[in-house]
């Protein structure tokens, strides 16, 4: 039953992704048109740019390709009005070659030890036999899996963000 629910969630997720992509295509054009129609309205323009800046900033963080990259570039151009602090300032000194090497090394280690060909088991599975065979039988080690209902939780947090 849980398997079916997981499949349903996957399908729902894909639907949502398609819907979002469609929305993304529409929204920037709509706002652009608005801005083009009413350039002298300074506070509105600022607010609109700030909103778009925020959304663009969020998407830049999520690192989606194509649409989002174009969106971010446009935002950078229009950032005469400072958006409300959804930016990160990084020192170029910190983003050095060492960081890149370190990341590559860590990725290599991860794939070798925890990659697809290693036969890794979840903690629940691994320790479940002990709990079943103990003289005092106990429940599963991790009774609740935190990844259940991920979609609902994500939607709830997004809903909260919109209303705050």
């Amino acid at each position: 039953r849980r398997h079916r629910e997981l499949l349903k969630e996957k399908r729902r997720r894909r639907q949502e992704l398609f819907a979002e992509q469609k929305k993304r295509k529409l929204l920037p054009d709509a706002v652009l048109k608005e801005l083009a129609a009413a350039p002298p309205a300074r506070p509105d323009g600022k607010a609109a740019a700030a909103n778009r800046g925020k959304r663009g900033g969020d998407r830049a963080v999520k690192q989606t390709q194509g649409q989002a990259q174009r969106q971010v570039k446009k935002d950078k151009r229009r950032k005469g009005a400072r958006s409300k602090g959804n930016y990160t300032a990084v020192r170029l000194k910190d983003q050095s070659l060492t960081g890149l090497h370190l990341q590559l090394a860590k990725d290599f280690l991860n794939t070798q030890l925890y990659g697809p060909h290693t036969n890794r088991a979840q903690a629940n599975e691994f320790f479940s036999l002990e709990n079943k065979k103990n003289p005092v039988k106990k429940a599963a080690v991790q009774f609740v899996d935190k990844s259940w209902g991920q979609e609902k939780k994500q939607r709830a947090t997004r809903f909260k963000k919109r209303w705050l």
Binding site: H101, L102, H117, T118, A123, F126
Partner: protein, 686 residues
Amino acid sequence: MGEFEVHRVRFFGLVPAGVRCLACQPRGGRLALARTDGAVEVYNFAANYFQEKVIPGSEARSVEALCWAAGERLFGAGLGGDITEYDLARLCPARSVDGCGGPVWSMAANSTGTQLAIGCEDGSVKLFQVVPGGIQFERNLDRRKGRILCLSWHPSDTRIAAGSIDILRVFDVCSGQTVQRIMVNYHVQKVKRECIVWSIAFLSSGTVVSSDSFGRVQFWDWERGTLLESHTISTSAVLSLAVSEKEDSIIVGTSTGATYQFQLLPVKMGSLEKRWVRTKPFQHHTHDVRAVAHSSTALISGGLDAQLVIRPLMEKMQKKGYDAALRKFTFPHRRLVSCARKARLLLFQFSQHLELWRLGSTNETGKDGEVLPLCRMPEHLVQLKSKGPEHIYCSCVSPCGSWVAYSTASRFHLYRVQYEGDSISVKKVPKVPKLLLPAYQLQFSADSGSLFVASARGSVHVLQLLEPGGCKLLHTFRPPSGSPEAVYLLAASADGHWVAAVSGDWAIHIYNLKCFKHHCAVPAYSCAVTALAIHPVTNNLVIAYSDQQLFEFSIPEKQYTAWSRMVQNCGLHRVWLERDSPITHITFNPKNPSHILLHDVYMFCVLDKSLPLPDNSALLMNQSTLKQLPENARQRQLHAFKICKKFQPLLFADLLDENCLVMVERPIMDVKTQLPLPIQQKKFGT
């Protein structure tokens, strides 16, 4: 004896970091250990395997290789590309040299300890000279493609064997050229992955031992480039390998948590031809064993399940006693919890944050063994995050609960906590006196009016805490003859008259706080101090040593007490001396001056000085038998040690008031579910 209401705390979410590297000091009886979070620890074998030094890690530091050089100097190198020398007296990284080869995967010192070779990400092996001030780059050996994951010097220091991906290379040190190149994946059919050589060892006979990701341990002849023997011991990778000094025994660790011993044994009785045979399998760990070491008498392994296991070899032991017992260490040998007794608060120390909790309460009473319902749940009051990548060295909360202090390698923070009804406000104390950091131990005085800071070179700073939120440096105590090591334990008396400090050279000094002078030093003992405390009424200093001995020293009289002399004359019970973990906290019951409360990881004990000591023929853990006896029979069998083993593993235990105890446990299974994934074990019938 007493009935106590016990607050059984299991919400300290400590997850110790896994063991990544091990290095035995060649002639010193010490073991250096590095963890996945960058922490470096030193264990002293002679002091009953006590964790005598701890250098906390850092987010910016990763340690992939650790080695001893030039006798007492400890070097580490990691994926950050630097080679760091650790200052073991000041417990911090001393100097750092950039390897200039990208992330460093492996490091080894030659047999004389004068040169270090590192294996880098870019495929080069670099040689460094160990000089008195640090290390100096000497030269690069022949560089080829493929990261060098492991390397080993030949005992004559003329050749180095290095393991890479699919390839094993042997370099000649003088010329720097590759003199042999062996393909390691030659014998594996129909598998498309690459063969990673995880660890390597070069024996003096010219045999190169390698372990790889296909679960094989292989013996090669380096000159001819041929395979002498191949043992497939596991379906998962064999991650680590260590050879004994006599080169007749090898220990290997695998990804499944199993370790195996190989021994060089004659083919037939009395025959001269010898062969390597896989002799003993062990399953001490549940997760990957990424580090193994071989001392002269024991097999040592450390896994990603944060356990250090020391398995003494029976054939090397003279007699079958406690020396030959298996030792397993999961939790640190120091206190990570501090308690504000009056305010009923607990401060938990994590590597990068602190948590302040208020204990729950109950209105009901019950009989022995009953679980009482709570009328107020324990509350997580404050979480203090430490800024920056460095991990926390020490932390403390004052007895009244309104001051919290902690120290990292370069920062010292003091906070004032105010409680207004249900709300908490935490304010940082702005101008803290400039001290030589880090602070290795913090202890508030009993009246919460001063803070004692343990510092380098045996010194103890006394800071006076001022209302509404400030502090100033009152005095700095130093031992009269100076000390190169740092102070790691402090104890303050309840009347605010004395403070005792233990430094890394195991000397205990007692200072007088009224006239700010050194009072006396406790006579030297041949073992490390694991816990100490000053009695509130008699001002006796109770000391627990790592060999499980207990001493009581009278501070006003400057000598051991009569009870302590009696304990030394009679000797402690054999079962008491054969405990695996050191005592990390000693406390007292103000209403019962003859009681001493102490605990280690597996037991909690109330020591009653007014009762007789048990001799070796009596049962030490006799609480359950005493409960079943009638009153008069009980009186005859009563002895001083009242031990409770109900709460384990115990990280902290303290007396809140005369009827109330708090026990902080950390069930091992809770730790194991938060570790990286283990390898699937197929069990018969499941």
